[in-house]
């Protein structure tokens, strides 16, 4: 499994690992049911604290991408979560919450806020 850590990246190391593994699963580079190295082996390979890798694995388990079988190791799940939309939705709600907090503390009017959301939506419209 090819993972890299970029110290010049704004994301914490565990999140960089989560994203890269998510991508590897989505692109099929990591196949359903495939075994992934243990978090300790990956820690040595990447020269990072194994707790950091463990945290990334825990997050990926929570997202339903990895599963740990006692005594056997960690694997990509056989059936990827069908309900991925649910995760996307949760992430959007989270982002919106942060944006709303920023807008309020920055003194943005509600009408401006709605307008901005509308703009952002149109911005990403695929022709």
């Amino acid at each position: 499994m090819l993972l890299t850590i970029n110290p010049n990246h704004g994301d914490p190391i565990y999140l960089q690992l989560v994203r890269q593994i998510q991508e590897a699963v989505a692109s099929g580079r990591l196949q359903a049911g495939e075994r992934v190295p243990s978090h300790r082996d990956l820690a040595v390979q990447l020269t990072v604290n194994s707790l950091t890798v463990k945290r990334a694995f825990d997050e990926l388990e929570r997202l339903g991408l990895l599963t740990t079988r006692r005594g056997l190791g960690t694997f990509v799940v056989e059936t990827l979560p069908a309900d991925v939309r649910q995760d996307v939705r949760a992430a959007i709600i989270d982002d919106l919450g942060q944006a709303a907090a920023a807008a309020r503390s920055g003194g943005l009017a509600r009408s401006e806020w709605t307008m901005l959301a509308e703009h952002a939506w149109k911005d990403k419209e695929t022709p």
Partner: protein
């Protein structure tokens, strides 16, 4: 059991105070980065623990005991790598390892031999004839062969090139993998800390000025690059979200107290028309560190990667 408990520690020298009112509690195994410039008090703090020096006031408890009650017994449970190796001339690597093996009843000679072979350290050579990197690696092996409960590292990888530094860090990571060793790592190399430490303690002029998780450093900070041209920050200029603003060439860079994902909307909502965000990114650990410690006395600013 408490691993370390420092309460209101001060350490005075004739010239002044090296440590002042330090409280530090470690109650479960973890890796702690101890950061601060030369003279901030990092080495003094570490030297209280084996113990090599007395605190002028306050109380010290290491692995549940007063370190001065039985220092020799305590040292059997600690590992310590000083920032400088003090080895008499004419001593070979194997002599040093043999000495450790004779001192520590729990010495794991096969573990050390494995590391020594893998790292390619020729222990038949004089210590002084080894490269600086190999000297540091050997010093580290001498500190871990008895599988200490608490490992104190004072710039273990200082002045080493990145490849050798990675080898040294690798040893620490393997040790951590095998046992629940607590490590206090004093260093000014932030990129190493981000890989290893879970908790960060910053010292400045002998005082503790920060104690928190690594992620506290970067949480809710982002760097926003505006498109070149005149920009009118409008209401953003007065907003508490705007933390800093600097001119970079033709463009303006803003540091904002918000997640990168909402930076665009924030700027669009608050700044005047024509102010366009070209790029918004979370801050790197190193930048966030420099930013968050900017108001501290100049001495505490910490150098980035070498």
């Amino acid at each position: 059991m408490s691993i370390l408990s420092l309460r209101n520690i001060s350490r005075r020298y004739r010239g002044g105070e090296a440590l002042s009112g330090i409280d530090l509690e470690i109650d479960h195994p973890q890796v702690i980065g101890l950061v601060g410039r030369n003279g901030a008090g990092k080495s003094t703090l570490l030297r209280l623990l084996p113990p090599f020096i007395h605190a002028s006031s306050g109380s010290v408890e290491v692995l549940g005991v007063d370190p001065w009650v039985d220092p020799i017994a305590l040292r059997g449970r600690l590992g310590y790598v000083a920032d400088q190796d003090a080895v008499p001339s004419g001593v070979r690597g194997r002599d040093l390892l043999a000495l450790c093996a004779s001192v520590y009843p729990r010495w794991d000679a096969s573990l050390i031999q494995t590391f020594q072979r893998r790292l390619g350290i020729d222990c038949n050579r004089l210590f002084s004839a080894l490269s600086r990197g190999q000297q540091r690696q050997l010093a580290l092996l001498m500190a871990i062969g008895h599988r200490p409960e608490l490992l104190l590292l004072d710039e273990p990888a200082g002045n080493l090139d990145p490849a050798v530094r990675k080898e040294v860090l690798g040893i620490i990571i393997e040790l951590l993998n095998e046992s629940g060793t607590t490590v206090i790592l004093a260093t000014h190399l932030l990129s190493d800390l981000e890989r290893l430490a879970e908790r960060l303690v910053i010292l400045s002029h002998g005082r503790k000025v920060h104690d928190g998780s690594i992620e506290d450093m970067t949480r809710d900070l982002c760097r926003v690059e505006l498109a070149p041209g005149p920009s009118d920050l409008g209401r953003l200029a007065q907003s508490p979200i705007l933390l800093a603003q600097e001119q970079r060439g033709t463009g303006t860079v803003l540091i904002l107290a918000c997640a990168p994902g909402v930076a665009g909307a924030t700027v669009a909502g608050l700044a005047g028309p024509g102010t366009v965000v070209r790029d918004a990114q979370g801050m790197t650990f190193e930048d966030a560190f420099i930013y968050r410690t900017r108001d501290l006395p100049a001495e505490s600013a910490v150098a980035g990667r070498p």
